[in-house]
Every structure is written in C-alpha cells, then in structure tokens.
C-alpha cells in the first residue's frame, strides 16, 4: 500500500515536468502578453517592450523556462504581475474557497446521486428510474455556466431565497483562521456567520455538482443493476437474509466500488468546472482567480496555478485509490 502511494507520488515528477512545459509554451502562444492588460490605452510599442523586458519575456523561451523551473524547485512560483503579490500567497488565500465549494458540490452529488441511482437500479423502468434518467441526461448536457446563471436568476434574483454572489454577506466581519468560511464560523463560535457562508454555498454547489450528480447517479444505477445479478446476491437470498441486509450489506457495498472511482475522477474534474461557477457567482476562489489571470495574461499566476491544480488532482486520485483499498479487500491484500 505504502509502496503503491510512493510510486504514484514519484509519477508526479514526469507529469509536472511535461505539464509545465506545455503551460509555459501555451501562455506564450496566446495573442498579446501581460503588457496589454497592464498598459491598456497608454500602450506604445516602446512601453510594451519595456514591460516585457522587465519580466524577462524578451529572453529566449528555453532560458525563461530554465530560470522559472530553477525557482519552482525552491518553492518560489514568482510574483503576480497584476497584484505584485507572491503567487504562492495568492493561491494560499484562494484555494480554501475552491476546496469548500468543491466539497459542497461533491457532497451534494454523492448524497443525492447514490440513493437516487440505487432506487433507479433496483426498480428499472419505475418513475424514479425514468425521471432520473431524463434528469441525468439534462444535467450532463446543460453547460455549467448556463445552469449557474439560471439558478442565480431564479433563486437569487427573482425569488430572493438565497444569495447569488460572494462567499459571505459584506456586513459580516469575522475571523478566518482556516479560510473555509463555514468552518471558520463554527470554530470562532460565530454561528450566524457559518450559516450565512453555508447559504452562499448552496447555489454554486448545486451548479457545480450537477454534472457529478448526473454521472454518479448513472454509475450507481448501472453498478447496482449489475451487482444485483451476481451469484453472491442469490446466495444471500438463499440464506434467507432479510431484504434490507441483502440490499445494504451485499448489493450496495459491492456497487460502491465503481462509484468510488468515479467520485474521485469527478472531484478532480470539479476543479475545471469551478472556474466557470466561481466566475458566475463571484466566488473568490482559485477558479475565478485563474480565469482573471488568463484575461490579463498574468503568466506566473497561470503557470503556478495550473501546476498547483495538477498536484491537487493527482493527490485526490491517490486518496481515492487508497480509499478503494478500504472497501475492496482484494485490493488491500494483494
């Protein structure tokens, strides 16, 4: 198990190396550079050239890459061109928001998707099954930002039930020891603040969680159907186990194996969905930060952000694979 984890972590090295080269070339292939955003209307060719020189962008690409990576291995991701703050500080400040949003989204997807997929799989052709099939197809087909705008318009703008922007009401000032606002509210004993942060999470989490919800529902349904036909389920029936034990202990536990994998993959993919969701709901996390960095051609931020997210993606999947060993003894003992 440990050997497996170490091997996976070592695999990170070539992945990050390749990815860093791609990102490095990609940002430089974009039309324009950081000078366009910095100078705006005041731009003249001379000023632009001066800015480019100041950030070392006039040097050959391999030279730039070499000195960048030299700093990265020392943990220095450079300084944001826009904010003049170290990229690592910016990430540290915003990452908790994204984690909070992604966790809420995946929680929503799991808590709704598994029971729904389970019922659909046990009763194929029932109204629950048919409704969830149509719902899943819609959920996968609708773009994240479109759903985000729709939810915001209906529930925030028209009905006014929930807040549609930000992470916390501006009138609330409270300490943020962890950066996870809901948790912060609870830790500092400021429960109204926690409740307010939670309400701010609802709409973005639904928008972001809908695709994972649809996929988890489908996978659970398929897995439950498949496992229901397994011989060991027939054995459990032949043993006279109650219906509840047959479904929970024998069917559901085995059906969770493929579902766990898909939850891991979806958690990784959430990071990309978060960019759009955070932008729609002005949720100040990594996603909206990265999106802004692309518009302003803030090269160090784009590079550092993507490398950081890649590491997170690999770690999340490693965690999922390790958790797989907990539910499947065949993985654990081989």
């Amino acid at each position: 198990m440990l050997k497996f984890a170490v091997r996976r972590l070592l695999l990170l090295v070539p992945i990050l190396l390749g990815l860093s080269i791609l990102v490095f070339l990609f940002v430089r292939a974009l039309p324009g550079g950081p000078e366009t955003a910095l100078l705006g209307e005041r731009s003249t060719p001379e000023r632009a050239a001066a800015v480019r020189a100041a950030y070392g962008l006039d040097r050959p690409v391999y030279e730039q890459y070499g000195s960048y990576m030299g700093k990265v291995v020392q943990g220095d991701f450079g300084v944001s061109i826009q904010t003049q703050q170290p990229v690592s500080d910016e990430i540290k400040r915003r990452f908790p928001a994204t984690v909070e949003l992604a966790s809420a989204a995946i929680l929503f997807a799991v808590v709704v998707g598994i029971p729904l997929g389970f019922v659909a799989g046990r009763r194929p052709g029932s109204w629950v099954d048919n409704t969830s099939t149509v719902g899943s197809l819609l959920g996968i087909a609708i773009p994240v930002f479109a759903l985000g705008f729709l939810l915001k318009y209906v529930f925030a703008v028209r009905l006014g039930w929930l807040p549609g922007t930000g992470r916390q009401d501006v009138t609330i000032t409270t300490e943020h020891p962890t950066g996870f606002y809901v948790l912060d509210g609870i830790l500092t004993g400021d429960l109204p603040a926690a409740w307010d942060a939670l309400k701010h999470l609802v709409l973005p989490a639904i928008a972001l969680g809908t695709i994972p919800l649809a996929i988890i529902t489908r996978i659970t349904r398929a897995a439950v159907q498949e496992v229901s036909n397994e011989d060991f389920v027939r054995t459990a029936e032949a043993k006279g186990m109650t219906k509840q034990v047959v479904t929970r202990r024998h069917i559901l536990r085995n059906a969770m194996l493929p579902v766990a994998t898909i939850i891991g993959l979806q958690t990784g993919l959430l990071l990309s969905g978060a960019i759009l969701t955070e932008t729609v709901f002005a949720f100040g996390g990594m996603g909206s930060f990265m999106a802004a960095a692309v518009f302003t051609r803030d090269f160090p931020v784009i590079q550092g952000g993507i490398l950081f997210l890649a590491v997170v993606f690999v770690l999340v999947n490693l965690l999922v694979d390790l958790s797989y060993g907990i539910i499947d003894p065949r993985v654990r003992t081989s």
């Binding site: 027939r234 054995t235 043993k239 202990r249």
Partner: protein
C-alpha cells in the same frame, strides 16, 4: 402449447410412505421477455424427496435443473417469470407463501449450494461474516457466540485453523476451500433439505471427490435430505437413492440408483451413461458423446424433445408428447418417458 397432462397420474409416489419432505407437482416455469418468444425452461416436473434421502437430478446443460430448484425456493425473481404448479415443503406451500415467511424458511429449513464457489461468495465480506450473518438471522446468535459457532462449522467441513480462517476473504481461499465454506454456510442452521446445484463442476477431480465425500458424510450424519443437481452421472452413482434424468424441462426417466445404472431405459440416459467413463463397464466400450446438442430439440407438444438426437427414433416419437409411465423392467419406482425404450435385459452397446 400445453400438452394434455396424461402423465400426471403416474406420479412417482411409489417409494414413499406418508408425506414426503418436499413434494413438487407439475412445476412449470416460463420466462418471457419483451420481443422474444417465451421460453418454457421447466415443463411439468413432479418430484418427491423423502426426509433424509438423497435425490439426484441429472441432465445436460440447459435442461432446466437449476431453474427447477430456484423456482422451488422462490429465487427466480418476479419480472417476466411465470411459475405454476405446487411445491410443498413439510406440507407448506412454498410458492404461495408470504415473502417474509419464505425468507425465514430459506437458509434455516432449506439451504442451497451453488456451482461456482468464487462468485457465490461475497468478495467484500469475510468468510466469518458470511457465516455469522446467517446464525444471527435464524438462530439469534450474536457476537462471540456466533463467531465460535462459525469456527466450529468451518472445522466440521474440514477447514483447519478455523478461527483464523474466519477473517479471510473469499479470494484468499482455494476453490475447494470456498466450496467447503459454502457447505458450512448451508449447514449452519441444520436444514432439513439441502439443494446442491452442481457443487463440484468448478473444481478439479480430486478436490471434487473430496467435496462429494464431505457432503455424503455430512448429510448422513445430520439426516439432511439432499437434492444433488449435476450433469455427471458419475457423481450421482456414489450418493443418490433416487435419480431423475431431465431433458428439455421434463423428467424423461426416474429410477432408484441401481436400476438406473443397471437397466437404463431411456435412450437419453444410455447416452449419458455412455459418455461417462466407468470402472464397472466392460473395457473396450468407447466413450460416446450424445450426437447433436441440446439445441436440436422439438417442443414437447410436438413429440419427444430428444427425438431429433435419438438413435432409437421411430415414427411414433413425433406427433404427440410421450407420456411418462412404469418402465418395461417393472422395477418399482422406475419410470420412463419413451415410446421405444431400450430393451432392459440386453446389453445395449450404443451404436
């Protein structure tokens, strides 16, 4: 589709005095799925199992052996399955029993063992858990008491180091061990009837012999009645009191073990016997598979289902369904469904 049920008068009630433990009458199972013709997998089976006796059901793949036992246990599910006839266990009608009641009969009064011990055990639960859950359910044993009993059961089926084995997962055991675990599970509540559906098909020859011997000893010691389903007459030879040979959903020959092996009268039975290597047979007799495959069949309503493959076919085989009746040998309890049975006093080398 249904033929006149003339054969029903000649139920094999012969051997039995009093009520049998299991009494199956005219059991018929039809599978229907959308867009396909309904399949009648079991077509009017009559079967009696006396308490403590061992009954064999033999037939090629697809003859309906498993479906018969699953239908009797109510394990076929409901969608697209029609089960008619009656199945009485100890005088109680299993087919019309309320679900909850049936669940408490299964595993406690009637237990089952299946063909593939790997896929029949839950891969994510320990062997111990899979045994204790049945003790918990039917015997109210919990915690350490259940574990102790489970270890005893494992020991009784010949698994050494049984306390430690409780913590093993199925994939950590060999095929033979897994089947022993299945047997321990089946016997956990001292059932009165055990149905073993091809318990040794997935195992190699030596292991298979050990498992059969274990079954034989256990059912003898506990007085459990056994229905042994197999496609191998060799397996039946050592164990069964009464043997039923099935073909295409019907019983074509029923006999006590001795007459079945000594004087088989249905050409299908002789075909099966000729395809099994036997020690008591004169040497030089070639091993002959039955020609054709079970798919070369005739619907029973149109005549004998075996006739397309039969070497003794006569005109009377086709046209109307053959009736099951006392065999020409007049051995009590020997029934055959054939219009041109194999002469019983002549050594009949299969042509």
């Amino acid at each position: 589709m249904t033929a006149p049920v003339a054969h029903r008068e000649s139920v094999p009630g012969h051997l039995l005095v009093g009520t049998p433990l299991l009494k199956v009458r005219d059991l018929t199972v039809t599978f229907a799925s959308r867009g396909r013709r309904p399949v009648r997998a079991v077509d009017g089976i009559d079967l009696d199992v006396a308490a403590g006796s061992t009954v064999g059901i033999v037939g090629e793949s697809g003859s309906g052996k498993s479906v018969t036992s699953l239908a009797a246990m109510g394990l076929l599910g409901k969608r697209g399955v029609t089960v008619t006839g009656s199945v009485e266990f100890d005088g109680e009608d299993l087919l019309n029993m309320p679900e909850d009641e049936l669940r408490s009969v299964r595993g406690r009064e009637i237990a089952m063992i299946f063909q593939d011990p790997m896929s029949s055990l839950n891969p994510v639960l320990t062997v111990g858990r899979q045994i204790t859950e049945i003790l918990e359910r039917h015997k109210g044993l919990k915690g350490q008491a259940a574990k102790d009993r489970a270890a005893e059961l494992l020991a009784s089926v010949g698994i050494g180091d049984s306390v430690r084995r409780l913590r093993s997962f199925p994939h950590q055991l060999s095929g033979g061990m897994r089947q022993r675990v299945m047997i321990a599970m089946a016997l956990a509540c001292e059932p009165r009837l055990l149905i073993a559906d091809e318990p040794t098909t997935a195992l190699d020859v030596t292991i298979s012999a050990q498992i059969l011997e274990l079954l034989r000893v256990l059912v003898k010691d506990t007085g459990t009645a056994l229905i042994l389903i197999t496609h191998d007459l060799g397996v039946v030879a050592g164990l069964c009191d009464q043997v039923h040979v099935m073909y295409s959903g019907r019983i074509v020959e029923s006999a006590p073990r001795r007459p079945l092996f000594a004087e088989p009268q249905h050409p299908y039975t002789t075909g099966l016997l000729a395809s099994v290597p036997r020690l008591d047979q004169p040497r030089g007799l070639p091993l002959l598979p039955i020609p054709g495959s079970p798919s070369d069949t005739l619907p029973w309503a149109q005549g004998c289902a075996f006739s397309p493959r039969c070497t003794r076919r006569v005109d009377a085989c086709v046209g109307h369904p053959p009736v099951i009746g006392p065999a020409p040998s007049r051995v009590p309890g020997h029934l055959v469904r054939c219009v041109n049975p194999v002469p019983y006093d002549v050594e009949e080398p299969t042509p």
